[in-house]
């Protein structure tokens, strides 16, 4: 009897140890990725790296200015499209618990969240690239904005649902019209949650490659015209990482480092902002 209990206790402890070991093994690949990106990346970047465009094969040096500028433009334009639409739709869903439209829109958001990004790229190719006759930054931004929408909508909806309805009533009882109550009372109170959703969606699409393959397409030259093909950091990494040239690999490592830093900063920033802007009820 006694030994049976000991056996069970030891088994429990052993399994706990095993589970902890398995759980923390996940650190291994992450450390390896960060190590390689940092090692190779820092070896590549210098001032020139930020201000020049890639050189043709065989020449050393060159930089990723085209991708930096392109990524920035793509993400900014995508945000301009996705943030207002996403927040408005989130407001609608938070205000309309159960009606037909809100039911189907919620389903649509669920679906959108799971759509493979390459599929979005295909569709935007037919919606924008083909009719305009050219790959373009704008089409890339539209594809990215579709990837952002479900995140922004969901975080807005979830945040606003948590705000007590007494606050809305307080505003209405003061004689404020509904739209002002929503915009000036409810949105500011939910700002931290909405903002964190927005930032996460930006961090997410900043690293997206697949939806850009058939839309923004990439561009070896510096381009700020959203009607023309545009380079982005992930596209550049994909193209150069899969090339057989060492110099291009180096550029890809440098670009990976910059991209990783940007995304980590965005994530960190989100956490800090959320904490600072949190409104106490």
């Amino acid at each position: 009897m006694k030994s049976n209990i000991n056996y069970r206790i030891n088994k429990s402890l052993f399994i706990k140890g095993f589970i902890i070991f398995l759980a923390f093994l996940i650190t291994l690949p992450l450390v390896s990725i960060i190590y390689y990106v940092a090692k190779e990346g820092f070896a590549t970047i210098n001032w020139n790296f930020f201000i020049s465009v890639p050189k043709p094969v065989g020449e050393v040096g060159g930089g990723i200015a085209n991708a930096l500028v392109g990524s920035l433009i793509l993400v900014v334009v995508a945000s301009i499209i996705a943030i207002p639409v996403g927040i408005m739709c989130g407001i609608y869903l938070s205000e309309n618990g159960e009606n037909k439209l809100s039911y189907y829109t919620r389903l649509a958001v669920d679906i959108l969240q799971g759509v493979p990004s390459i599929v979005v790229g295909i569709v935007i190719y037919f919606w924008v690239v083909k009719p305009t006759g050219s790959f373009s930054g704008l089409s890339g931004s539209i594809a990215l904005s579709i990837m952002m929408l479900p995140i922004v909508i969901r975080s807005t909806e979830e945040t606003l649902k948590l705000i007590p309805s007494t606050l809305k009533e307080a505003g209405l009882a003061l004689g404020l019209p509904y739209y002002k109550v929503m915009i000036k009372v409810i949105l500011p109170v939910g700002m931290s949650g909405i903002l964190s959703g927005v930032m996460l969606s930006i961090a997410r699409v900043a690293g997206e490659t697949a939806p850009l393959l058939f839309t923004a397409f990439g561009n070896p030259y510096l381009n700020t015209n959203i009607a023309k093909p545009m380079q982005s950091l992930p596209l550049l990494i994909f193209n150069y990482a899969t090339s057989p040239y060492d110099e291009w690999h180096n550029l890809a490592w440098g670009a990976s480092l910059i991209l990783l830093i940007c995304i980590l900063l965005l994530n960190l920033f989100t956490k800090l902002l959320t904490r600072r802007w949190k409104v106490q009820f």
Binding site: R8, I9, K11, S12, I15, K16, F18, I19, I20, L22, A23, F24, L25, I26, P29, L30, S32, I33, Y36, V85, M88, C89, E95, N96, L101, S102, T105, A108, I111, L112, Q113, G114, P116, I118, V119, V120, I122, V123, Y125, F126, I146, L149, P177, Y178, Y179, G207, E208, T209, A210, L213, F214, F217, I237, F238, A241, T242, L260, I263, L264, N267
Partner: protein, 296 residues
């Protein structure tokens, strides 16, 4: 008394409410539009190739022959292999964070690691896989005596497994932390050990939620493109074993879409995209339903 013109405010109010409805409609139309576009553009392929498309064993654009079977096999093989590799880890993380250590420095550390794993862009996973993982797999392959490509289904699966762990882990953690304390205490009061409580109470109670998490991570794996494209070897021949190079539905689209010079070729690729879309829609809707059911 300074008052705004109520008439104007009522007008704005209408405008605002209407805009809200319109944006909600817009999302709905967007999703319907995504599907219809895929359907419309894959019609030539559907008409020409019919069901044979799914079972055709050869994909040879040069001779205008399009069979999707190699990619179906490639997709299912990589995704399920990734799922099998990832489950022990994601479940271990879920149990650690949900049951052993829901709070504290160690769990905060692990949570951050998980968030980082989810935040790394897939193209960086692909690059890392190409440079770091491929040589490792290659030496493993020569040890066990298969053709040492390095790239292939197996390598893609490992990378996919790493990438999908956060989804199943964080959903699983949520489910496990929702197990009512009195259920666990009931078992403890009968003299059960921690492991027995996990096995007899927690896992049965959260079964459907854990399953939903795994299902959703499968959805991710099926649609993941870049990392897979970079290491799978892009071969349109049906893989004969898990170390062989192959192609998934997503990776063949990524590789060949802009090169597709014939309309049937393009249409066949889009039909792959539509299949991918439908499969992930079904998986996501079922997964979310299960989670909603669990929460209420």
């Amino acid at each position: 008394m300074r008052q705004k013109d109520p008439g104007l405010q009522v007008k704005y109010e209408m405008l605002f409410s209407r805009t809200l409805v319109i944006t909600a409609l817009l999302i709905l139309i967007l999703v319907i539009g995504l599907f219809l576009t895929l359907l419309l553009e894959s019609l030539p392929s559907i008409q020409h190739l019919g069901f044979g498309f799914l079972f055709g064993k050869t994909w040879d654009p040069v001779s205008n022959v399009y069979g999707a079977y190699p990619f179906l096999v490639g997709t299912l093989l990589t995704s399920f292999l990734a799922l099998i590799i990832s489950i022990p880890f994601s479940m271990a993380i879920a149990i650690f964070l949900g049951e052993y250590q829901p709070t504290g420095a160690l769990s905060a550390f692990l949570k951050n690691i998980i968030e980082l794993i989810a935040a790394v862009p897939s193209v960086i996973y692909g690059f890392w896989g190409l440079i770091v993982l491929v040589p490792l797999v290659r030496s493993l392959e020569s040890k066990i005596g298969v053709v040492p490509y390095g790239i292939g289904i197996f390598t893609a699966s490992i990378i996919l497994a790493i990438m999908i762990i956060p989804y199943a882990a964080s959903l699983g953690r949520e489910m496990i932390s929702m197990v009512p304390a009195q259920l666990k205490e009931g078992a403890y009061s009968l003299g059960a050990t921690r492991y027995e409580v996990i096995k007899a109470v927690i896992i049965p109670y959260t079964k459907s939620g854990l399953f939903a998490g795994i299902l959703l991570s499968l959805g991710r794996a099926l649609g993941e493109t870049m990392a897979v494209t970079m290491v799978i070897g892009n071969s349109s021949i049906i893989p004969t074993n898990i170390f062989a190079p192959g192609n998934t539905m997503a990776s063949v689209i990524a590789n060949e879409f802009t090169e597709a010079d014939r309309s049937l070729y393009l249409s066949a690729l889009i039909e792959l995209g539509m299949l991918l879309f439908l499969v992930t829609v079904v998986i996501n809707v079922i997964g979310k339903r299960i989670i909603k059911g669990f929460n209420t």
